[in-house]
Amino acid sequence: SKCRSCKAPAVIDLPRHNANFCAEHLLQLCRRQMSKAIDDYDMFGPDDRILVAVSGGKDSLAVWDMLIEAGYRADGLYVGLGIGDYSDESTEHVTAFAADRGLHLITVDLRDTFGYDIPTAARATKRAPCSACGMSKRHLFDQAAIDGGYDVVVTGHNLDDEAAVLLGNVLHWDIEYLARQLPVLPAQHGFPRKAKPLVRLTERETAAWCLLRGIDYLVEECPIAAGNRHLHHKDVLNAIERESPSTKSAFYLNFIDNMAPLLAEQSAAASGDLRRCVRCGAPTTGETCAFCRLVDTASAHDPVPVELVLGKRGR
């Protein structure tokens, strides 16, 4: 098959665009979709200092690469989660990526700095590992951005991620969660601005970006996340997509266009009373923030190897 733009031999078929593309025009499509997301949702400008949360997977390395290529000022932040071999390999991929390109990478290791890791936190708190992990990462991204004077935290969330989360939220119609599911959240209440420049790209497209740009990302997925509900929602959306291509992007993008404005009025009222955590200064509703309480509980617990939490998935 031939590229829709230049008739050269295609390297990928994109059913949602009902077209095939060569390497160069697939990259161009990715660039344009990111730039459209940044502009449409007013995510950041060329002078903003960007902190990219990187994991070593395809999406976070793709967004860092794309931002740098587009001329943005973007540093990386990597959090060592202590999830056995998976984290060791992640570290290698991220550090090699940054070193090869001469990019600035900030690293925070949970065990070294806070005395715990994700498997231990999951066991100590008796909660799903994905919940301790998400909470730790969000806190450290926010803190690093504030401490480092960055204007915005960027994550690699793609269209499939956002559509799957949206499906989960829609299945239960939690209005608060729905109202917060936006491609950019303004800085407020002591939290930094947050943006997701890849929301218009599917994960098949971000993976293709990495392949075509020679980015050596970690293909293996987090062993703890395997089989979680989020992944099941992705399968469900892909089954719908197969029956009717481009439904997935319509689902997410029409939500942002048609529904988010209606919900915005709702959530404005609900931001509540926030003060500063007495320990770390982060915004919190209590005396101590949830992260500092997690650190207390998890760091007091004997280290738990990852194998022991693999039975307890993040469902």
Partner: protein, 65 residues
């Protein structure tokens, strides 16, 4: 042809010439969740795979949220 797969990491032998889409169907894999790399090059769904090709089927679904 030799087909490299993931989750878990493994290699299987598949007989005969066939298209990428046909290979994915035969293995019951969803196109939307995979890239196919033939002899190191990304290939589209209608590309023909030959008997002596080395093929990687790479899943693209990531688990975090």
């Amino acid at each position: 042809m030799l087909v490299k797969m993931r989750n878990p990491k493994r290699e299987i032998e598949v007989d005969g010439d066939r298209t990428v889409n046909h290979l994915l169907d035969a293995l019951d894999l969803v196109r939307e969740s995979h890239l196919v790399i033939c002899n190191g090059t990304l290939v589209p769904g209608d590309a023909r795979l030959a008997h002596d090709d080395t093929v990687e089927i790479r899943p693209v679904i990531s688990g975090g949220a």
